[in-house]
């Protein structure tokens, strides 16, 4: 029996939800709109919404100053690399925690999460010195490793909670059939775990993309990602709302598009075991 829903109620819901949704989205919308205005229009009072001379001059100005593609490419490599490496290392760990739990499993998990509470700035000097010793300064490899380690606890936890949802009976059945550990993982678990892994990958890609402390402090020119790109626009001289908006839009557009197109996937796995 479906719940009876009157059209009036549905309309009211729609209006309220859309208003709130647009309110929450407004800062981003406003940034995108402003990026197409001239500097003078950007601060116009009353604010201009759609009826202004749309211009691309801010994007041209930003691109002229900094090579966007290189920052973008670094962001993709660093976020992608750290996520990939993280998942490769975390999947076996999460698998064993979920299916061969011991008394200490939960302690280990919570300990892993607690490493994320270490204030980054407190260990900047130690890490910087280590990076110099290892020759990792301003390299993408160095950042891939650091971001992988930073996000590892979250990856392990997400995967762990996801794996736990997989019924053990299926595993036992496959074992009865004489499947080896390898087969068990490859043919039984992997297909069921794939959605969870996918959303873990997405979440961590987003977290790595937006990480702004290490990516800024451990890079110079060669490995600098979009967080460094935006750091050169935070306070330009004179009127700058439009240029700031253009640079901001360029920095967030790729991750926004990725997020929008994959949000169903992301939401499916973004439960951290909350649903039970």
């Amino acid at each position: 029996m479906a719940r009876a829903v009157t059209n009036t109620r549905k309309t009211v819901n729609t209006v309220i939800a859309w208003s709130i949704g647009l309110l929450i989205f407004f800062p981003i919308l406003w940034t995108i709109l402003t990026s197409f205005k001239t500097e003078a229009q950007a601060i116009n009072d009353p604010p201009l919404f759609l009826f202004f001379d749309w211009t691309l001059e801010n994007y041209a100005a930003v691109q002229e100053r900094s090579n966007y593609m290189r920052f973008l490419w670094n962001s993709i490599i660093i976020a992608g690399g750290s996520t990939l490496l993280g998942v490769i290392i975390a999947v076996p760990a999460a698998w064993s925690m979920a299916f061969v739990p011991s008394k200490r499993t939960k302690d280990i998990l919570l300990w892993m999460l607690s490493t994320k509470m270490l204030p980054a700035v407190g260990v900047l000097y130690p890490i910087y010195l280590i990076f110099i010793q290892l020759g990792l300064l301003d390299t993408r490899v160095g950042l891939v490793v650091v971001l992988m380690l930073i996000n590892m606890p979250i990856i392990v936890w997400m995967l762990y909670t996801y794996f736990r949802e997989i019924p053990v009976e299926i595993l036992e059945a496959s074992r009865m059939d004489g499947a080896s550990l390898r087969d068990e993982i490859l043919y039984v678990l992997a297909p069921m775990a794939l959605p969870g892994i996918a959303s873990t990958v997405l979440l961590n890609f987003i977290l790595a993309w937006n990480e702004a402390f290490w990516t800024l402090n451990l890079t110079a020119a060669k490995a600098a990602p979009l967080t460094a790109f935006i750091a050169s626009y935070s306070s330009p001289e004179g009127l700058f709302f439009a240029k700031l908006s253009a640079a901001s839009t360029m920095a967030i557009a790729p991750i926004l598009l990725l997020g929008w197109f994959s949000q169903k996937q992301l939401v499916r796995g973004l439960t951290f075991g909350a649903v039970k």
């Binding site: 910087y128 935070s234 306070s235 004179g238």
Partner: protein, 436 residues
Amino acid sequence: MKTNLKSKIALGVVAGLAMSAVASAEELTIATVNNGDMIRMQGLTDDFTAKTGHTVEWVTLEENVLRQRVTTDITTKGGAFDIMTIGMYETPIWGSNGWLVPLDDLSEEYNAADILPAMAGGLSHDGTLFAAPFYGESSMIMYRTDLMEAAGMEMPDAPSWSFIAKAARAMTDRDAEINGICLRGKAGWGEGGAFITAMSNSFGARWFDEEWNAQFDTREWSDTLNFFVNMMTDAGPAGYATNGFNENLSLFQQGKCGMWIDATVAASFVTNPDDSTVADKVGFALAPDNGLGVRSNWLWAWALAIPAGTQKEAAAKEFIEWATSTGYIDLVAEKEGWANVPPGARTSLYENPDYQAVPFAQMTLDSILSADPNNSTVDPSPYVGVQFAAIPEFAGIATEVSQEFSAAYAGQQTVAEALEKAQALTNDAMEAAGYR
């Protein structure tokens, strides 16, 4: 002996020439601040590459990020940069630690003697130049000639603070969104901290007495801060406690300020009709004083320095010679006009008739010449620097002090409370550093 030395030098020069001829093209990594003049320099890098074959990778960062980035790198000898853009505060400290390559062997053609003595002095340690000024600045008054006239007043060339306060109140028209005066209130030693320190000098205040005791409990400091807060409350823009250089520049360009006392380099931005709505109505005057013999203008330079230990010292020097030379000034003048050349670094620029025609040239030079880092306070002080004290601890202390001041500007605490906290935290930090 003498001939021996001479021949050695000759040999060295020949070897140097030979080396530079053979030397392969290098790739330089340069950290710089995102100010207009530096952005312009980035756009002209091709000229450097064409002349020398070296290429340049720019790391352009906002001032605070840049500072934290280059300081971390230099203190750990990270070697991430071949050239760093630093200021008058960092240069003597880093130079004395042996972290910078001395720039005492620049070429004849470069003519280091042409660098303004005030700038060269501030960028040296023990008489050795450690950074070459890209541009230099002092601070001065920029004001709206039309509003001044409407207020029935006339700006003297060297006004006093009481005149400024009176004019500011007279020019204020809240309904028309015109604030009589826009000044920096933003926390940060290089933002509001720099302004209030320079201003306090003209009120007879100082940071430390000769035994390095903090001086915020003196009447001079309380006079400075009270004067500032009263004037800004009556005639300043809303939210001035968070306004720094950029915010004020933007307000002035929109015609929302009657007067603005800030860096002399701003003169070219406010008179540029592309960005400024008031470009043809701007006058200039020396920063105000209080009749105590010290004006309230500062002295600063953004300069290029080479971290010791870089593998690319020769190429880095070539770049510095290119970027801070008269040739570079000519290049910018040719492409963007004389008003846009990097100011305040070279004597010859102010002797150039083309540049003398620029409306703010003379006032800039006068301002620079009237600031003396070695005698910045009325009463004697143990430190060098006008709007800062050139000791390693200053940046940290002054940022915290200016945060207390900003909280007072915002009305979160009284001036007296702010000064009391400033006094305590400064003495604390100086004790920790072993001064007292």
